[in-house]
């Protein structure tokens, strides 16, 4: 991959993470355990969706500037290739709705299903804490667009982290049942947290260029903070050491296919229309 392709791959990873976690959280809308929390979760879903849009717009700009030959190689989707063959440029919705799963770059954690409030809280906590630490560093990115997205997101992510940390504590410290449930959720989602800190080729190139942060120190900080919240919540650190990975390179869990089936339905059934 040349540098431009790598930056696109990286931008899409940030966008896809945001889109997919936003999608999962939006599934709660109307189904929350209490009205106030329904509203809070929808707010968070909107923050993620907003970030996804900024990043997809940036990715589309990058892509539209590629030489015609390069464009053919980037995405496998027939629908996208047909669109390009017509000479059209692409936009945020084409990237969200016309790529297939193997061209999605989000981490496996964000596509895991909601299951119940405990799993949702645990997934959000792991991801929000990562995001908080990551965006704190990403603000210094040498890529101006990415750095400005990080700066705006940091305020939102700080709130998300407060929300999910408080819920981990509330559930852990609450009742016997809630303690059991959050512990189980944390244990089962643990194997999806390793990937957050594993640098793939894209991370290495981006880091070398000062565009993305070094993941190593983030992991130490992340673990320490998880431990501290778990202590307060009186739940145990999971002991599993085997970690799943592949999302960043397009190898996903089965869940992503179904997310995309819903998310992309309209653009697939009624292509080329404006809504």
């Amino acid at each position: 991959m040349n540098n431009k392709r790598t930056l696109l791959d990286y931008t899409l990873r940030l966008a896809d993470d945001a889109l997919i976690i936003g999608h999962r959280l939006s599934e709660w809308c109307g189904h929350g355990p209490i009205l106030e929390q329904d509203i809070a979760l929808t707010n968070t879903a909107l923050d993620h969706l907003g970030r996804a849009r900024s990043l997809f717009q940036y990715a589309a700009d990058q892509f539209n500037g590629f030489p015609a030959e390069d464009k053919k190689e980037v995405f496998s989707s027939v629908t996208l290739q047909t669109l390009l063959a017509s000479g059209a440029s692409i936009g945020e919705d084409d990237l969200a709705s016309l790529r297939d799963g193997w061209d999605f770059r989000n981490v496996l954690l964000v596509e895991q299903p909601n299951i119940d409030w405990g799993y949702t809280v645990a997934r959000s906590f792991f991801y929000d804490l990562f995001n908080y630490l990551y965006f704190t560093e990403l603000v210094k990115s040498k890529d101006e667009t990415i750095s400005s997205v990080a700066e705006k997101s940091l305020k939102e992510v700080t709130y998300h982290l407060r929300w999910s940390s408080e819920w981990v504590v509330r559930l852990g410290d609450g009742t016997e049942e809630s303690n059991k449930r959050i512990q189980q959720a944390v244990n089962e989602l643990w194997m999806y947290t390793g990937e957050l800190f594993v640098a793939n080729d894209t991370d290495n190139v981006m880091q070398a260029q000062g565009i993305s942060p070094d993941l190593g120190p983030l992991k130490t900080e992340w673990l320490a903070r998880v431990q501290s919240v778990f202590d307060e919540a009186t739940i145990a650190m999971p002991t599993g050491t085997w970690m799943q990975q592949g999302g960043k390179d397009g190898n996903h869990s089965e869940h992503l296919g179904y997310i995309l089936t819903e998310l992309q339905f309209m653009q697939r059934a009624y292509p080329g229309m404006s809504w």
């Binding site: 999608h23 209490i34 410290d173 309209m266």
Partner: protein
């Protein structure tokens, strides 16, 4: 004061259009009517999240998805203010939920119809929120203060919702043939249920007389329905959609549109639970509530423990 003079004082406040506040004396029937009306409205907001929520994960563009999410979130917010307004009358939110979940309390029947295509998001905003505004704007001057104040905020947001619905429809009607077809199909399905939203004809509306007297209601069902028809028919013209009513005709003498006979048999059946989605909507609400029980219990238990720990530390 005797009960008699309490009543006189209350009547004089009503007559002078002075707001009744939570601590004021009020007749039992006034309180009951308000609780029924406000909680029905709150329940309608909460159940109303479901038919639109149905399209959040499938919205056709990221922009539409964001707008729809924000809209459904506003409805949750409306539910929240309205439950709070009802609480000032001495009933708890849990009790009101219980009335909803056991089928004792009603909600707007319109939400028992399914949302089958994306155009339904447009039709709901345009027609359902449009009808809701007609019903609700006069309530901003309702005699009960907390209700009237909640309605001011609700109406501001509803008018934004109505515009976004109309904009979805406008976009579809300026679109491809299949988009136009989608818009017309949604209009056909939502038109009559929207007219039913104003409730039974005045002659058969048992609650109207007292509600008008108490200024909880400002216009009758039929007056509001006529107003809605007159406004909406003109909007349909802008959209290039045909109103699914062969009897619709401008009546020069009345200065209003005449319209066909509403199928009240269908209306009462949907009210009684035989609509296409009654069971599904209520089950979904109940499931959310029951699945959330352990979460609410945990939050309460944690809050109590924290309080206890704080007291011990002090």
């Amino acid at each position: 004061m005797t009960v008699h003079s309490f009543q006189e004082h209350f009547d004089s406040l009503i007559d002078r259009e002075i707001a009744i506040e939570p601590k004021d004396w009020m007749p039992d029937d006034y309180r009951k009517t308000l609780i029924r009306q406000i909680s029905q409205h709150a329940h309608s907001e909460i159940i109303g999240m479901l038919p639109e929520g149905n399209w959040i994960t499938r919205a056709p563009s990221l922009r539409r998805k964001a707008v729809l999410l924000a809209k459904v979130q506003d409805e949750a917010g409306h539910g929240l203010y309205l439950y709070s307004a009802a609480e000032t009358l001495g009933v708890s939110r849990d009790e009101l939920y219980n009335q909803l979940h056991t089928g004792k309390a009603k909600y707007s029947s319109i939400f028992n119809y399914p949302t089958l295509t994306w155009a339904d998001m447009g039709a709901i905003g345009w027609l359902v929120d449009g009808a809701a505004i007609m019903n609700q704007v006069p309530l901003c001057r309702a005699s009960y203060g907390p209700y009237a104040r909640a309605m001011v905020r609700v109406c501001k947001e509803e008018s934004f919702h109505q515009r976004q619905g109309f904009e979805i429809m406008l976009n579809l009607s300026n679109g491809t043939d299949v988009q136009k077809k989608m818009a017309q199909d949604a209009f056909n399905r939502w038109w009559w249920p929207s007219l039913m939203m104003f409730g039974p004809p005045d002659a058969e509306s048992p609650n109207t007389v007292n509600s008008v007297r108490w200024r909880i209601k400002r216009l009758t069902n039929d007056e509001l329905r006529q107003k809605f028809v007159d406004v909406t028919v003109e909007q349909a013209k802008i959209l290039g959609l045909s109103v699914p009513d062969k009897d619709l005709k401008w009546n020069e003498e009345r200065g209003h549109y005449d319209f066909g006979v509403i199928n009240w048999d269908e209306f009462w059946n949907v009210v009684m639970g035989n609509g296409p989605c009654n069971k599904q909507r209520l089950e979904t609400r109940k499931k959310a509530w029951e699945d959330g029980k352990w979460v609410r219990d945990a939050a309460m238990a944690h809050a109590a423990k924290r309080k206890e720990r704080k007291a011990k530390a002090a």
